[in-house]
Symmetry: C2
Subunit: 436 residues, 2 copies
Amino acid sequence: MASPQSLPDTQKAIRWHPPSYDIRVEDVPVPRVQHPDDAIIKVKLGALCGSDLHIYRGHGGVSQAHTCGHEFIGEVVALGENFRSNAQGRPALYSSLSVGDKVVSPFTVNCGECHVCRLGYTGRCPDGYLFGSPALEGGQAQYVRVPRAGGTLFNLSNPSTWSSALPNDVKQKALSNISDSSLLLLADILPTGVFAALQAINHPKVAPVITGKPWPLCFSKDVVPGNEVNFTDSDRMLTIAIIGLGPVGVCATVSMLDVLATRDIPFQIVAIDPIESRREKMKAVYDTIDAAGKGSGKFSVLSIDEAKVRVEEWTNGVGATAVLEVVGNTSALNLGYELVRAFGVIVSVGVHGAPPLPVTGRQLYNKNVSLDFGRCPARAMFPMAFDLLVKRQDVFGKVGEPASLIDRIVDFSQAAESYRAFDKGEVGKVIFDPWN
Amino acid sequence: MASPQSLPDTQKAIRWHPPSYDIRVEDVPVPRVQHPDDAIIKVKLGALCGSDLHIYRGHGGVSQAHTCGHEFIGEVVALGENFRSNAQGRPALYSSLSVGDKVVSPFTVNCGECHVCRLGYTGRCPDGYLFGSPALEGGQAQYVRVPRAGGTLFNLSNPSTWSSALPNDVKQKALSNISDSSLLLLADILPTGVFAALQAINHPKVAPVITGKPWPLCFSKDVVPGNEVNFTDSDRMLTIAIIGLGPVGVCATVSMLDVLATRDIPFQIVAIDPIESRREKMKAVYDTIDAAGKGSGKFSVLSIDEAKVRVEEWTNGVGATAVLEVVGNTSALNLGYELVRAFGVIVSVGVHGAPPLPVTGRQLYNKNVSLDFGRCPARAMFPMAFDLLVKRQDVFGKVGEPASLIDRIVDFSQAAESYRAFDKGEVGKVIFDPWN
């Protein structure tokens, strides 16, 4: 274990000020260990995420100035006293994390040892403070304090402390080859995209199409003789609409393509955004993916009106089997309701605001719609997201190219301008380097 | 095949008149075959269902007088010309159904040969007219016309045309022993109850508790080493809240108990209704069920306020894993939201009205709630519901006892009074015998 580095007293941080649109780079104290479970991370890169815009615009119900950012990657520089060689009965990192280790954090804290965390629902740990909120200073800074760090962090220097479907040597080699900006996608947007795809694919209402057995036999391992149904090719066709092609929407699309290609599920996907530059990005990403990663299904990137016509044509008016709503507002939900079939599912991973839902109980009853809302349990999704990150370095490994999710890496002097341009849709995902 | 019986010209029928609360027994024409796929059924029994009350109260948006009722059992008295010995490529009943056969119908028509029906989503067949609506005369009559009858009906005289998990001899013997009033429960309320339970049990957000593997490993057949989590007994405990103990709510509860007992899943169930007589009925039903049918979990029947406290106590404030909302109004949905845990699921099988949903997108996001709405695909659920009907004759085989779902069988002269008393909660489920 390396010796704790001596920390400076002050640091630079990107901070939001109320009521809205006010981003400043300020000198603030460097955080110290406050609790024996804390880790202090020296941030290498901190990213700007679409959900930062809720607070930026003053829509977050927040009135307290704070350091922004819930996506960061960095190096451990100090650990609380609960990190020791034999922290038995606690998450593995309490015994193995060392000063000097490279870590990535999910966007929320999770203790890793409560009932909710054990179930894998790490996004709703009762200790689950969101980084970059009044409750917890964020990672768009030179240093950040991570509470419950043995449950929260992933140790990228010691991949034996977590596992994936990849062999250890592949995992180790991948880690040494993948850039920090690429690994930073594991903090939020990549697991959130995988989460959206996973919920749709595993929803019971999608099961008949995937299993080729009608509801409710799709849940039974045994075929009950006399109830066989001869499915046609079109019955087995999964029609997916993905609404919103910001960075998370692109991740959800790439993840969905990968699942469908890997499992050889026939599909047709329409990826939808009203903004042309986002559609162009999605097309460039799709063109980049190799044949094994995108399978042989149909794939269209369309505006809203075009998409309505396309889903109608593809499904003879039946509608999409599943909709991924990756925006988080009522018009996107409304579009989802319009596109989804009876007995279809709408998965919504966007951060929704306070307006009432745009559909009534009667409408949901009349179409037998299922809705799955909520925040990604990023810590639990990490291994699956990591595997996709390794597979899809053609997409996730690049910066500033037409097919890359990350538009640019800038220094803190460009913070306010980057927020402004990102809010206006003039730039894609921006990453801050706090040390340049 | 028996010869078609000669049908009378007129019959007695229970009819609703606008705007509300106006039930009359009237002489109306006996229906005739209008389409080659039609069957005419001589009704033996027709039942009154909670969802009939929407139209009765004038809440259904209906302005046209019509014959009521979507639950009926009877005998085939006429068939369209598409019923013939070799109707190849069509649902089996077109080749095998005969005049004289005893049949039960699901509450909606389903063709059995479209994409939606093949998937098992028979409740949303594009031809899926609801019996007892302006679109299709109902079964509270002496005769009823069943469109798409080869796809819609179940032939209880010839159980080889459908299948269940039961051996054929058990099935045949059961059919000869089960009363018509008991079989009539297959038209709607029993499959709807089974549907509610099935959706909850198979929802992906319930999977960690059932599989004992955390999200998202619960979807993987292989355990990925390094991600094992030691679940405690309380992590494996499924907490279910069932809101609404009308006949469908009781069926949902009996079905849920049966699934949990059969699969040996540890559980605690709270069954909730504000009306004491319904709670007493639920308790009597529970006491009737044998040990194999109710397993060894905790089971409480409580009022709303008691239930809130109980779920809090049972789960240390985490909330119910799944909620079955078997009412169909906003206060029931609100209670569901309050009781459900983060990453929980609310299954709603009630017929909802036009009011906006009582929860916002922000609330659903903040709790990662899943909602599954809609009408039961009763035709598809029939085999599973039949098996439960056979198993639970201790509950479903009785009339007029404290533990029976069916309160009384009456003649048509008591139609208006029965609607009134059922609407006021003064009687339980009522069945009409049109021939007494």
